[in-house]
Amino acid sequence: MKLHLKTSLTILFSVLILSFIIAILKGSVDILAKDLLLKESRTILVLRILRVFTAIVVGSGLSVSGIVLQSIMKNPLADPYLLGTSSGAGVGAVIATVLCISSIYLPFAAFIGAIISVIIVYSLAKQNNKINTQSLILSGVIVSIALSAITVFIISTSGSETLHSVSWWLWGSLQVYDFGLLAVVTAIVLTGVISVYIFSQDLNALSLGDEDAVHLGVDADKVKRILIIIVSLIVSSIVCVSGTIGFVGLIIPHLMRFIVGPNHRILIPTSCIAASIFMVICDLLSRIIMPPLEIPIGVITAVLGAPVFIILLRKSQTVR
């Protein structure tokens, strides 16, 4: 039985608040709850709150991007990470950083990289005007590896001090470095997620097929183009604050489709909250599994996400 929108939102919201509190109380440094409010630990508290906040922004943005890509490609395996969009954004951002462009403009440099990678993946996967699952994933992964290689090459040869480590770009982290950048990214992701939500019913129609969408009065080509641009913007701005984090856009929408159904009016808001919870918990795990070391968050999402991907791939092959 599919859960009602209000019930599922209430449940998810309570879990989010709970994980929010736990994430603030726990960390690589052990501080008692009452001491956290003292003046000396103010910076730790602020940093932890910002980290959770980043987790929410990144989680919502990535899950909505996954939903959009899955719907317009009629393919439950689409995800900004697997399709190379994140890596493209990464290359854009790394190049901009090496060129010493102010961090506020990073998302736009990343956006150019993301759009280019989308175009490359799309044209590689296209055969006789059709895009099938296997060739889409394959070209996405290939482009993604190639672009990651470029990122590693630039970072290892530049010697730039403003660049994060290779592991930060390839596996992600929710550590907050730049408040101005985080503010810009939050604004872009929020606007993007709301814009996608406005297209909920169009996404419903598009997930039945482009021609069917046209029969319902949805200009499929135009709406798809708008949505791809919005998704590229969301993904590229997220990459600027957290590096590339995979599988979130894949597993959360899939899980939520299973719980609330495929209707985007319900799927989008519930996935946003579920992905926020997921990211907050993954980030918490990344900090507490091996303190004081921090495991890159992408490692945790990949460990959890890869099996889901394999199950989905198997399922899509048996259907055909």
């Binding site: 599919k2 009629k74 393919n75 019913q201 319902l216 009065g217």
Partner: protein, 265 residues
């Protein structure tokens, strides 16, 4: 009575690989029940795709109630013309109610909640197609015949004047075929819906339609009432196979009997 719903003049169209529809002209009167027949590759589906604005025509004009459809915006067009395909592979398990409510997209702005009249249209469509009891079921839980009725319900929720159907019976057994065509007849009579459909089965076309358009290689070979189009000469010419045309004893409409090569001697 003689008002035209669709008036097609010198229509040509197709894909980059070549022209499929070649200089076709015909009219469909308001309240008409027309079927488009013809061999595989004769252009039935392409014609419907052009009529539903999915494909741009290369040449010629299509008038919908004397208005050129290329000048009508897609949303307004979809308030008047609905489409039902033969088979929709559903990748995502929407519920029946969600599918039918998508028929209201042309009537609503983005993010606008369904109003009373929208809900009424959805419910009426469900009742008319006898799918109301399925409304909470997911599409992958219902049979092919039920699925086809659900997509007809979605078309009805658009409250159109014309419904285009592409082989609505191709995946169904004869019981369900008759059920769907009876339903379309009822809608045609009671709701004064104009129906244009592509059909493979010559006998279904003959029994149900008042106008048949026989396509051959992108051109109209013959069009008119069933008794004029479904003659053995026409069918043998277009389909290149021998047939015998009889009369259905119940309503005196033509009835096409297939002749296997063995029987020809």
């Amino acid at each position: 009575m003689n008002k035209e719903s669709f008036l097609i003049k010198n229509l040509s169209g197709g894909y980059q690989s070549g022209l499929i529809i070649k200089d076709i002209s015909f009219a469909v009167r308001e309240g008409g029940f027309t079927s488009v027949i013809g061999p595989n590759g004769s252009g039935k589906t392409t014609l419907l795709r052009i009529l539903s604005k999915v494909l741009q025509p290369r040449d010629g004009t299509i008038l919908l109630e004397s208005e050129d459809i290329s000048k009508i915006c897609l949303k307004d067009f979809c308030k008047k013309v609905a489409f039902v395909s033969s088979d929709i592979a559903v990748n995502f398990p929407f519920s029946v109610w969600e599918i039918v409510s998508m028929g209201r997209i042309p009537h609503l702005k983005r993010m606008q909640q369904e109003k009373k009249e929208d809900l009424a249209a959805i419910n009426a469509a469900l009742v008319m197609t006898d799918t109301a009891h399925l409304k909470d079921k997911s599409l992958d839980e219902i049979s092919a015949g039920e699925k086809q009725r659900v997509f007809i319900a979605r078309a009805l929720a658009q409250e159109p004047q014309i419904v285009l159907l592409d082989e609505p019976t191709s995946h169904l057994d004869i019981g369900h075929q008759i059920h769907i065509l009876d339903l379309l007849t009822k809608l045609n009579r009671e709701k004064k819906l104009t129906i244009i459909m592509a059909l493979h089965d010559l006998n279904l076309a003959s029994q149900y339609c008042d106008q048949i358009i026989l396509l051959d290689n992108g051109k109209i070979f013959k069009s008119g009432p069933p008794e004029e189009v479904l003659t053995y000469q026409n069918i043998e010419n277009v389909y290149r196979t021998t047939v015998v045309v009889k009369e259905n004893p119940l309503n005196s409409k033509p009835y096409v009997v297939l002749v296997p090569s063995d029987c020809k001697k």
